[in-house]
Structures are given as structure tokens and as C-alpha cells.
Amino acid sequence: MADPSVTLTVTGGADGLGLPLRHGDCRLTAQPVATASLIAPYPGRVAACSAALAALGLAFPAPGQGLSAQGARIVWAGREQAFLFDAAPPDGLAEHASLTDQADGWARFLLQGTGAEAVLARLVPLDLRAGSFPQGRVVRSLLGHMPLLLIRAASDAFEITTYRSMAGSAVHELGRAMRATAARG
């Protein structure tokens, strides 16, 4: 029989990685993911998904788009899919889309500082200039060799999300790029 005294403690995806990290004016912090559902509308059901998401004040996002309302956030996450953060999927959504719980699969970080764009230019093969990648824009790309969901949170801040299992490597790579960028002053 189960031992009632047993509890299962929680380990965060970025635990034990030495965060926050600071080099020069750049700071890397962990941004725990509380809830995350991946929503993938069935063919022809994007409008129906948006209708269901209206209960949260949201709609299904276009590629590169992120929307937020009432503390919930929906973020484009790849071909015909989006992450719903910080809210449970509304009723009726499952009829129009596949829903998977992804909250524990991802580690999220915030990279902030005037050098943040230069740090990412060492790891991400993307045009990160503000004109091409404005605040609020979402992209899927690579962080070195790692999967990446990148959001420009502010002119000098980026939300970096990658596989939980690769969080250690992500911090290592970001730390190295931060150190070298800071050394350039």
C-alpha cells in the first residue's frame, strides 16, 4: 500500500544552474513555466479555436504573434500550433484542437540588458534588429544547436525557451556569449 507520508517534491527546469547570471550589464534569470498547453487546431478549425479562446480574451495567434489578456498569454509556437501560458484551456477547445500539457517540457529564461541582442547574435541565426524583430514578436529558431522559442519582451529583453533537458547547455552557451560580449564593453 502507498505510504501516505510520501510526497513528491518539485524540481524546476532551471534549478541548480547557478542563475541568475550577470556579465557586464546583461542578466540571465530563470522564468519558471507554471502552466503551458500546446494547442494545435484541427484542419479548418482555427476560427473555432479563436472563438473558444475568446472566453480568455484571446484568439489563436498568427505566425510570429503573441497575445495576452487577463493574465493569460497565447504565443505562436510553430506550424499551426500555439502555447497557452498561465491559463487552463477553455471549455470546448478540445473539440477543435489537440491539447497537450507541456508545462514541464520547457525551461524559460529572461535575458536582459543593452547587450542582450549582441549576446543572442552569437547563438541565434536570426535578424534580431528591432525593425525585423520588434517587441512582442515570437520566433522559433535555434539557440546554438538547441530548439528555441524566442520572444522579444522589451527593446533590451528576450524571453528564451528551450527544452528542459537542455537547460544546462543553454545556460552554459548563453553564459559564454554573455562573458565575451561583456568583454567588448
Binding site: 510570429g64 510553430g78 506550424r79 500550433q81 520566433v139 522559433r140
Partner: protein, 82 residues
Amino acid sequence: MRIPCPCCGWRDRREFTYYGHETFLHRPAPDAGAEAWDDYLHNRENPAGPTRDLWYHDPCGSWVVVARDTVTHAVAGGEGLA
């Protein structure tokens, strides 16, 4: 090399995985016979000039038919399958 993804726009080639000529989209009927299946699986032109081939954009999961030129290396465009 830069390749256009229908979802994400122009991206560096390192974000893509190559598959082969767009022939792979034209799967014969199961009973089409050995010759049709041989052509589908193995027989390809080797064009000096325009070609259309399949690339997978790993970050977003889109398969893309890329129109490009094997002589000039110019990439004319890319479209999704569906």
C-alpha cells in the same frame, strides 16, 4: 544559403533538413507496380537549372517545397505542402 519558410520567412540553411526532390509528394497507388514505385523511390533527374525539392524547417515543423536553381544557387521561393 537562405531558404524561405512559409511560416517563418527567410532563414539560414542550418535550420533546415534536406529530403529530396518533390517527387516524394507523388506517392503511387499501392498497386501501381514495380516500375512506378522504382521511379518514385529512386529515379531522379539531375537538372542543371531550376529544380524543386523538399526541406524540413525543424524549428517550426513545416515541410517546404523550395524552388531553386542548381547552377546559380538562386532560391526563388518556398511553399508549404498543404
